[in-house]
C-alpha cells in the first residue's frame, strides 16, 4: 500500500484509447489511473500491461484533446463499484456518474467490478419459472430464474419492443422482491428515450447504466460490469430477484475489437480478439443463483446479428455461453407477427427443469412437445410446397401447412397483449384440438 498517490507526466505515446507511459514504479495490473485533461475534465483509465517501467493504460473516456504532458495519477486501487440499497431508481452513465441530476449516493460498500467466479459447487440449479407474458417464450422456450437467455435480433426487427414487453410483463413464481438493471451500450437517443419511458412506467425498481452512441466506446466495456456488480449486490446481499437487460452486446464486442486492434493484438475471426469467448463469459456467467441464498441474477442480453447471420462470431460465441437463445425472424416480422420469434432455432436449455407440475402446469411439457413437433413438420413442408405447389400435396400435408400458419398467427402472434401461462397453454391446446393433433 502506497502512502500517497503517484503522479507522473511521462506519457510516451497515445494510440486510440490507449496510453503508454514510462518510468512508472510499483504499478499494479488493473490499477485505476486518473487522467486530468488539459481542459480540466477528468477521466479514468486502467493499467492493462506492465513491462518494466513501461505501462499500457486503457482510457475509459475520450482520448481526444490529450497531450503528452497530461498528468497521470496512479491510485494504487483496482476499480471498484460503489454499492448501496439507495441505488435503486438511479440512472448513471457508463463511468458510474449520476445522469439524473441527483447527487451521488453514499456507498455502503465497494464491490469488485469484474466480479469473482462463482464456485460451481455453490450454484443452485435454476428451476423457478419466470412468466414473461409472451407465449413463444413461456410456452416453448421457458425462462427460469438465474438463466441467461439472449435475444438474437437483426437490424430493423423489434427487439426493443420485445425487451420492453418483457420488462413490463415479467412475473416471478414465488413473487420475491424484483428489480431491473438496465445497461445500454451505444444506444441512439431515439432508443434511449423509448427505454427511459418504459423504465419510468414500471412498478418495480430499476437501476440504469447508459452509454449513448456518441459517448466513449471504451466505457462500453465497463458499463455491463458495473451493472452486474450492482445486480450481484442486490441479489445476494439484498435478496432480490434481479433481471439484467443489456442492449446491445454487438456494440460491446465492437468496443472490445477496437481496443484489441489498438493494442496490436492478433485478430481472430472477423477481427474480433481470440479471447472474446472468455471475455463474454466473464459477463454472461455472472447470472445465476446461489445455494442457501435468496435472490437471483437473470440475464437478457440483446444481440443484433450483423447481416442476419447467426454464425457471426458475436451471436455464435454468445450462444455457446448462454443457456439458449430467442431468435427473431425477419420473415415473421414482415408478416406483422409480434413478437416475431422463430421457435425452431430458439431454445431454452433450462426449460425442462422449470416446467410441469409445481412450476407451470402439469401438461406443459406434453403440449409444448406436440406444438413444436407439428410446427416443425409444417415448416419442413413449406419447402416442398415451394417446389410442387400446394395442389401437388396430399391432404394430411396440406393440413400441416395450415397448422404452421395458424400456429404463427394465433400462438406466436399476440400483438401487445400479455398472456399468462394458462392462456398460453390453452391457446396451444385449442390449436391442436382444431387440427385434431391433440393425441398423436
Amino acid at each position: 500500500m502506497r502512502l500517497s498517490e503517484h503522479i507522473y507526466r511521462t506519457i510516451s505515446s497515445i494510440r486510440g484509447p490507449l496510453l503508454f507511459a514510462d518510468g512508472i514504479l510499483a504499478v499494479r495490473i488493473g490499477e485505476v489511473v486518473r487522467i486530468a485533461y488539459p481542459d480540466g475534465t477528468v477521466s479514468d483509465g486502467e493499467v492493462l500491461k506492465i513491462d518494466g517501467g513501461t505501462v499500457l493504460i486503457q482510457v475509459f473516456g475520450e482520448t481526444r484533446g490529450l497531450d503528452l504532458a497530461t498528468p497521470l495519477v496512479f491510485t494504487d486501487a483496482v476499480k471498484k463499484a460503489p454499492l448501496s440499497a439507495e441505488i435503486i431508481g438511479r440512472v448513471f452513465n457508463g463511468s458510474f456518474l449520476p445522469l439524473d441530476g441527483a447527487p451521488m449516493f453514499v456507498p455502503e460498500r465497494w464491490g469488485p467490478v469484474t466480479g469473482m467466479p462463482l464456485n460451481p459447487t455453490a450454484r443452485a440449479r435454476p428451476e423457478e419459472f419466470i412468466e414473461t407474458g409472451f407465449s413463444a417464450i413461456d410456452g416453448l422456450n421457458t425462462l427460469v430464474k438465474g438463466q441467461k437467455l439472449p435475444i438474437f435480433s437483426s437490424a430493423g426487427l423489434p427487439a426493443r419492443e420485445m425487451a420492453a414487453g418483457i420488462l413490463r410483463n415479467s412475473r416471478l413464481a414465488g413473487g420475491g422482491e424484483f428489480a431491473v438493471v438496465f445497461v445500454a451500450l451505444g444506444l441512439t437517443h431515439h432508443d434511449y428515450s423509448f427505454y427511459m419511458q418504459v423504465l419510468a412506467e414500471m412498478k418495480s425498481g430499476f437501476v440504469a447504466f447508459i452509454n449513448r452512441a456518441g459517448e466513449p466506446v471504451v466505457e462500453r466495456l465497463l458499463a455491463p460490469r458495473f451493472g452486474l456488480a450492482v445486480a450481484e449486490y442486490l441479489a445476494f446481499t439484498r435478496g432480490m430477484d434481479v433481471l439484467v437487460l443489456v442492449t446491445d452486446m454487438t456494440n460491446y464486442c465492437d468496443a472490445l475489437r477496437e481496443v484489441s486492434t489498438a493494442r496490436e493484438e492478433l485478430p481472430g475471426r472477423r477481427g474480433y480478439p481470440g479471447y472474446m469467448y472468455s471475455d463474454l463469459a466473464s459477463i454472461y456467467e455472472r447470472a445465476g443463483r446461489i445455494k442457501g441464498m435468496a435472490g437471483s441474477v437473470t440475464m437478457l442480453p440483446v444481440v443484433t446479428m450483423p447481416e442476419d447471420d447467426i454464425t457471426h462470431p458475436i451471436p455464435d460465441l454468445t450462444g455457446y455461453i448462454t443457456e439458449g437463445q430467442i431468435v427473431l425472424s425477419r420473415e415473421l416480422h414482415q408478416r406483422e407477427v409480434f413478437p416475431p420469434v422463430d421457435v425452431l432455432p430458439s431454445l431454452s436449455r433450462l426449460m425442462q427443469r422449470g416446467i410441469g407440475a409445481g412450476h407451470t402446469r402439469e401438461d406443459h411439457r406434453r403440449v409444448a412437445n406436440l406444438l413444436y413437433k407439428h410446427y416443425a413438420k409444417g415448416r419442413d413442408l413449406r419447402r416442398l410446397e415451394a417446389i410442387v405447389g400446394r395442389d401437388g400435396m396430399i391432404e394430411s400435408d396440406r393440413l400441416m401447412l395450415d397448422f404452421a400458419e395458424a400456429f404463427e398467427r394465433e400462438l406466436v402472434n399476440q400483438g401487445g397483449a400479455r398472456r399468462d401461462i394458462d392462456e398460453t397453454l390453452d391457446t396451444g391446446i385449442a390449436l391442436l384440438r382444431r387440427f385434431s393433433l391433440e393425441t398423436s
Binding site: A26, N119, T311, P345
Partner: protein, 537 residues
Amino acid sequence: MTGRILGISGPTVTVDLTGLKLYDMVRVGEAGLIGEVVRLERDRAVVQVYQDTRGLAVNEPARGMDAPLTVQLGPGLLSGMFDGLQRPLERIREESGPFISGGRELFPLDRDRSWRFIPAKREGEEVAPGEILGHVEEGPFRHPIFARHAGRLARLADGACTLGEALGAMADGREISAVESWPVRKARPYRKKLSPSAPLVTGQRVIDFLFPLARGGTAIFPGGFGTGKTILEQAIAKFVDVDLVVYVGCGERGNEMAELLEEFVSLADPWSGQPLMQRTIVVVNTSNMPVAAREASIYTAVTMAEYYRDMGFHVLLLADSISRWAEALREISSSLEEMPGEEGYPTYLSSRLAGFFERAGVVETLGGQIGSLSMILSVSPPGGDFTEPVTQACLRTAGAFYMLDTSLAHRRHFPAINWFQSYSLYEREMVGHFSERVAPGWGELHRRCRELLQREETLREVAEIVGVEGLQDADRLLMKVAERVRQEFLSQNAYTEDAFSPPEQTLERIAGIVELFDRAEARLKEGALLDEVLKES
C-alpha cells in the same frame, strides 16, 4: 530461488528468476499465485499464471518451486470435485464462501479423513516397486496402495489411518505414503499397450448400434450450439459401462455444472446400483474461471484417470469441450506473442492434441492387470463449421467421429448424431463382438439398418421433386419404416426411462422394426394396398 516480477500482461508474468527448468511451478506476487514456466531466457523467465492476475504489481516477489505442476493421487479422489488445478471446490466453498478468490492453497485430498487400511504385506518382508502393500476401501472400490521403492518393510499400518500420517516406513528410513504426486503433463507408465478389443457400451442406441466405441478408444462429437453436446455427454457419463468416469467441464457453463453435480449425487449407476457420484471425479473450470487453469484442467483430469487405470479399472474421460481448451491454448499463445497458425491457433495445436489422445488406450499395468482409459470429447466448432482447425486436428487422431447435426437438433431429434457423416474405426471389430456376445443377428441387422437409412435418403431427394404421392408403394413403405427407425430407434429422450438402452434392448427394438418391414413388404408383393398394410402394422 526468489526473485521479482518484471512485467505483467494478462495471464503471463515475466520474472527475473534464474536456474529454473521449463514447466517448473512458480509462485508469484504477495498472493502467491501459481504459475508454470513457459519460456526461459538467460536472465528472465516467462510464467503463465493459473489465477487472475488483477492487482498483481511489479517488484512483488516470485519464488521457484523446483517442481513441475503436479496432482496429488490417493484415496478420496472419487466423488471429488476439483478445479483445473485440482483444488477441492467443496472445501473452497466451505472456507471462503460462494465466490472463488485467488491465492488460498488447499491440499486436494482430505488429510483428516479416516480410511481402513488392510495390509497385504508384513513387516520384515522384501518388496519391489509396483507390488501391492495393501488396500483401502474407497466406496465400492478396493484402492490398492503400491510400493514405490525396493527394500525391506520396517513398519506398516493396519486398520484406521489418515492421509496426513505415514502408512509405514522402509528399513532404510523412507516413509510409505498413501499419497503420490505426479506431474500432470507426463503420462503415467505401464508395462505395455494393447489394442482395444472390447466394446464400450454407452446406452445410446445410435452409438452402440451404428457406430460402436471400444474400451480404450477415443471419440469426438463436434456440433454447433444447441445440438445437444452437453446433454449427450452427461447421458453417457450416467449410463456408460465402465468402472469410473472422470468428467471435465472445460470452459463451459456454470449452471450446467450445477445441474450435473446435483443429478450425479441423486442418481444411481445402472450397472452397479451404487450412487453415480461414487464412481465419478469431476474437474470443472467454467468459462469465467482463469484461462490458464482451463488449459491445465484436461491434464489434471487425465492424470487422475490414469491413476485409476493403473489399478486395473476401466476408466472413461469425458471432456466438454475440447474447443475451449484449444481456445485457452490460443489465448496463452497469443499473450506469449508466438507466431500464429491457422485461425490464430498455435501451430503446435495438433501435436498437443495428438499427445493428449495418446494417453488413452488399453494397457497392461505395471502390476500386470488390464486397465483401460477411453476418451469422449465434445468439440464446439465456431459457426457449426467442421472445417475449422480444432475439429480437423481431432479427426486425425480420434477413433470415432459423431457429427452432431443442427438440422436434426432443430427437428428435436436427439441425440442429433448424423448417420451419414459419422464413423467409428472400431465398427467392424465391435459389431463382431456384439454378434458373438449379444445375438448372432447383430451384424446383419446393422447392415440392414444402414441400408434402410441410405435408401431413404435417396428416395427423399426424389420425393422432394415429385412429392411423396408420386413414389411407388414399396418406396413409400420404406420411407415410413425409415421414419420409424429414426423416431423410435435412433432418437432417444434423455429425460425419460428411454435415456438408457442396454444392448439387448437396442437389438430387440431394431429387430422389431426390420421384421415389420419384411412382413409389410411381403404383403405388398402379394398385392395388398399400402394403406391396408400400414394400418395392419
